[in-house]
């Protein structure tokens, strides 16, 4: 699923390609910092991998710089956000999922999942309200049956779980 490099008026855009190496460099630096005072056994692995990683990133940065200087490639971050029409739905998925994890201890699994699926389907305009309610209810009830009723997992219990526990 690797996307081909995006182009802006025939110009290759390569800025996005540097995001992951940037994160890798930051993480490697943090890893080195965290093992600085430890015995060699604790830092041998990180040192070997980290140094190799930094060398490869160095080569990659040189290659990208040459592309920019020689071929006139752009350094924008367009590749991360294209197509623009999907940007809103994408941010909604991330935001709704984060909200779900935050609210899970209060809402509980069943109600939380119902809200997550229904919210996302509404944002993504996935069908009529009946389809939204039916899909959300099916997913949340299946999760309740599997994780709470059958496996008795430690997933947070909310009002629905407490009500059902009182009834059965």
């Amino acid at each position: 699923m690797a996307n081909p490099a995006p182009r802006d008026g025939g110009r290759e855009i390569v800025g996005g390609d540097l995001v992951l190496p940037g994160l890798a460099v930051a993480f490697t630096a943090y890893f080195f910092y965290s093992v600085w005072d430890l015995s060699w056994e604790a830092k041998a692995n990180a040192t070997i991998i980290g140094v190799t990683l930094l060398v490869l990133i160095g080569i990659f940065v040189i290659r990208t710089t040459l592309k920019v200087m020689r071929d006139g490639a752009g350094i924008g971050l367009e590749s991360l956000f294209e197509p623009r029409s999907a940007l809103g739905p994408r941010l909604s998925v991330v935001a709704f999922t984060a909200l779900f994890v935050v609210a899970l201890p209060w809402l509980g699994l069943t109600l939380g999942l119902f809200a997550l699926v229904a919210g996302l389907m509404l944002v993504l305009r996935a069908g009529s309200w009946r389809a939204v309610v039916a899909t959300s209810a099916t997913v949340s009830m299946a999760a309740y049956l599997l994780f709470i009723a059958l496996l008795n997992s430690r997933l947070p219990r909310g009002p629905i779980e407490k009500l059902l526990a009182a009834l059965f």
């Binding site: 699923m1 992951l20 692995n45």
Partner: protein, 504 residues
């Protein structure tokens, strides 16, 4: 060896007699394998009360049937939604998902099922015959060889999965470093944990798998109305039994590929720790290397599904070899099986083959029989499963996100793991959009802890001298193959002087 044709026939008959155990185990295993976040290991742990109460033969038949079925099940979401149910199915996404996008999901599923079943069947039969020799492999592989094997596996993945080898290597090494998070193996001092107690044991694999594959894929999926490309929707909607038959014909055409890639899985499976994720990529790479049409791999080529799935299931019998022969589990699922066997008073190791040959060889016979049951259980369902690719992404994405984020919790039961899945989801999204294949990242994370364990062990033996990594003959051969695998793609890309052969 203490067994003959009559003895073998008796084992086969006994195994078929356990159909009432095998069929439910296969069904549970397929579902478990298909759901990211669940795996054979944690399912067997959940089902310990059942396996501990059954007698040892029945418990073993149940466990191996479930274990084999999870390896098959992992390929289903890999093909349908580009989310491997298990790490071993990661290579299946490369061509399986592309086939689904072309409206050939049903054929891809049939290829997956047949290669899984026949790869698993052939290798489990071969294991019964070759067991004494295969068992020796565990002794040959020491820490130095293991370090090179893992680097070799990671390099292959980087070369195969990413279009740009340099990007693939960066992603793989980044994954290895993420896999090193947690306490070190000697002094238990925490490293790079960002202050989170939940990371002291290292990065949990299930949230990493869910984030890198499921959540990031859901974010990318939003760009399309359905998984199947618009031009192929009509073709996919009209799919009938004809497509199942077509998939069977393609499988038959690739029978030799199923056989030899299955053996790659078997051999890699015998090596403790190497696992299905490496085996399937090695098989994929080998299949591409010997193909007349290597350029078709990654575009929805049937051989790109046959090879990794056959190897993925060849691993199943391989991982049980060291367990039965020398009492060392070849993987985490084998470790759970060992607990059950020890509970029943079974002493694993060479004596088992003398004292209880029906149990020692029976495991592999039961495995072969469970594969026979599997093909009849799963094949008719391919037609209906393929319909998933026609569900609008507006419905599919919320369901994927909801089910997998809860799956992230299931393994360790920490809310923290849900956040971790989300973080890996964003990381995976960045990787996908910029051409760093998430598979290389994931495999790095999977083998990271084991890689460190073997590396530190080797370095302690040499008192920190790195030249020990080049001190073994097998290791040096593997180093040579590693370098070759990096150079070969560049050599093959050079223009051919003669006219190009037909791609078929």
């Amino acid at each position: 060896m203490g067994w003959d044709a009559g003895f073998l026939a008796e084992l086969v008959a006994t195994s078929f007699g356990y159909w009432w155990i095998i069929i439910p185990a296969v069904l549970v295993g397929i579902v478990v394998g298909a759901v990211p976040g669940f795996n054979a290991q944690n399912t067997l742990i959940i089902l310990l009360p059942l396996t501990l109460t059954l007698d040892v033969e029945k418990a073993l038949v149940f466990m191996v049937s479930l274990y084999c079925a999870t390896h098959l099940g992992g390929g289903i979401p890999a093909i349908l939604v580009n989310i491997p149910g298990t790490g071993g199915a990661a290579a299946t996404t490369l061509d399986g998902y592309q086939m689904a996008r072309k409206g050939q999901a049903q054929q891809a599923l049939v290829l997956c099922f047949t290669s899984s079943v026949f790869g698993g069947l052939i290798t489990s039969i071969a294991t019964v015959a070759l067991l004494p020799w295969l068992a020796q492999m565990g002794y040959v592989m020491r820490s130095v060889e293991m370090v090179v094997i893992m680097l070799f596996g990671l390099t292959l993945i980087a070369v195969i999965a990413a279009r740009d080898t340099l990007k693939g290597l960066i992603a793989g090494l980044f994954g290895l470093l993420i896999g090193a998070i947690g306490t070190d193996h000697i002094y238990n001092t925490p490293r790079a944990t960002f202050g989170f107690l939940e990371l002291l044991d290292g990065v949990p694999l299930v949230p990493a798998l869910i984030g890198l594959f499921a959540i990031s894929e859901a974010l990318v999926m939003l760009e399309e109305e359905t998984i199947v490309k618009r031009d192929n929707q009509a073709r996919a909607a009209q799919a009938s039994w004809r497509e199942t038959v077509e998939g069977l014909k393609w499988s038959l055409k690739g029978w030799w590929q199923i056989v030899w890639t299955g053996f790659i899985g078997l051999i890699i499976g015998v090596i403790p720790g190497a696992g299905a994720s490496i085996a399937s990529f090695v098989a994929y790479q080998q299949s591409r290397m010997f193909s007349k049409t290597p350029e078709l791999y990654g575009t929805g080529h049937p051989a790109g599904v046959l090879a990794p799935e056959s190897a993925n299931n060849g691993v199943t019998s391989g991982t049980l070899v060291p367990l039965m022969a020398i009492g060392v589990p070849g993987g985490s699922t084998a470790a759970v099986m060992m607990i059950v066997l020890q509970y029943h008073g079974v002493v694993l190791g060479p004596r088992l083959f003398v004292e209880s040959p029906s149990l020692a060889y029976g495991v592999f016979v039961a495995m072969a029989v469970s594969y026979v049951f599997m093909i009849f259980t799963i094949l008719p369902l391919a037609r209906y499963m393929a319909r998933v690719t026609l569900v609008p992404t507006g419905i599919l994405v919320p369901i994927i996100v909801a089910c997998t984020i809860v799956g992230a919790f299931a393994d360790r039961e920490y809310l923290f793991d849900m956040w971790l899945a989300l973080v890996f989801g964003v990381l995976g999204y960045i990787a996908r959009k910029t051409g760093y294949h998430v598979t290389a990242l994931l495999i790095g994370i999977i083998i990271g802890p084991l890689f460190e364990q073997y590396l530190v062990r080797a370095l302690r033996i040499s008192q920190g001298d790195l030249s020990i990594l080049f001190s073994s003959t097998i290791g040096n051969v593997l180093w040579g193959l590693l370098v070759l695998s990096l150079i070969l793609p560049y050599l093959r890309r050079r223009p051919k002087p003669v006219s190009e052969e037909s791609t078929g």
